[in-house]
Symmetry: C2
Subunit: 209 residues, 2 copies
DNA sequence: CGATATCGGAGGCGACATCTCCGTTTCCGC
DNA sequence: GCGGAAACGGAGATGTCGCCTCCGATATCG
């Protein structure tokens, strides 16, 4: 913990660069990439952080916390369905803009970060779902853990958006939300995965077993 | 092209092993994996096939052709919505059982195989969509190219199914189909990607730009 | 049984990401 | 300013991994 000017400056540059690089290229980006983007040497990067995971943890901690906060904030919206839609759209927008973020949320990143953030998200979303169900605006057989699956489904939509049109994800989010809305439709054919298997839900989409 | 007993036997073993290995582990499986699974040496594998892509092409050619055939067959079903649902369920089931297949369809594999099969699929699905739209059972703003996106969205669901419960994908397919069905819902917020960008839709979900 | 096609799998090769080492540069207190 | 400690930079050592080749061993068949 130094106060030297160059040390502080480079630390700031590294974190800013990490934010941009992870957002654009995802968690596979190398620490060398980040160092180059920050305009510092790789040695400097490794002096500031023991490894790539440490940088990712710093950069992504508040991004994930933000998601949970958004879910809690959405409870302030009076209309239960509007609250749910607002939460999904805000969260999806954050993910569409940050590849590292949705990779983290959907299981490609640090398992510890997921284990920390998901229970928080699920708790907040459960409140949103309960309210929506009481109001009869969400299909009765939707469960809070489906949100983890929905985020996983949207990951390819975010990727498409990056390549084709920045807003394309809105189309497929709307499609999924319409499927989630209450109607006279037949019940979903299979129960959701048990909450205890949330980690498995998230790891899906990732390769290797 | 030999008729020696060991040659023919090993070729059969290799193709059978490739089918299993690609289905279970996806296109990232190595030809060495396939050889080991077939109980032959890697040298043998490389004598029968110039490289991994060649094996994949042999193994996946009929699987993808089957999808297109399924779409055409679905046109024989009288009810337009039932035809669409049947096609999706059949195709999704095939993909859920074969990781190599959905990786190929959604852009992780050989670009040539995709370029060959997708126009065929889109043509057949366009007929299904047109009929459904005329009958008013599908939302008017759904386009045939959305099917490529829907398959991409389902890929994570297939992955989950493999890890958690073999039928879990049915839940999320049902959700998406319910979103696709005609109702009094607001139109989708963004147009679908142009047909000309189909290759970009498919490449999404894959890493690196 | 011998000629020849085929087999098997160790290992060469190239690519790639992680992280270290040490000569050079910057900083800051005196 | 000046000197020494702190920090920098980036070449390259290291380890991993997948692709594919080579050649001595083995199987097939006339």
């Amino acid at each position: 913990m130094s106060t030297r000017k160059d040390y502080v400056r480079n630390r700031g540059r590294l974190i800013a660069a990490a934010r941009e690089v992870f957002a654009e290229r995802g968690l596979d980006a190398t620490l060398d990439d980040i160092a180059r983007h920050a305009g510092v040497g790789t040695g400097t990067a490794y002096r500031h952080f023991p490894n790539k995971q440490a940088v990712a943890a710093v950069v992504l901690a508040d991004a994930t916390a933000q998601i949970a906060a958004d879910a809690r904030t959405a409870l302030d919206i009076a209309d239960p369905w509007a609250a749910l839609v607002t939460f999904f759209e805000l969260t999806a927008a954050r993910q569409a803009a940050d590849r590292g973020l949705y990779e983290t949320l959907t299981g490609h990143g640090d398992a510890a970060e997921q284990a920390r953030i998901w229970p928080e998200i699920i708790t907040a979303v459960t409140a949103l779902f309960d309210r929506a169900r009481r109001a009869g605006v969400i299909r009765a057989d939707a469960e809070p853990q489906d949100i983890a699956a929905v985020f996983a489904l949207l990951a390819p939509a975010f990727e498409m958006s990056r390549r084709i049109a920045p807003d394309l994800w809105r189309r497929y989010l709307a499609l999924v939300l319409d499927g989630l809305r209450a109607t006279d439709r037949p019940p979903l054919p299979v129960p959701p995965p048990p909450l205890a298997d949330l980690d498995l839900v998230l790891k899906a989409g990732k390769g290797r077993g």
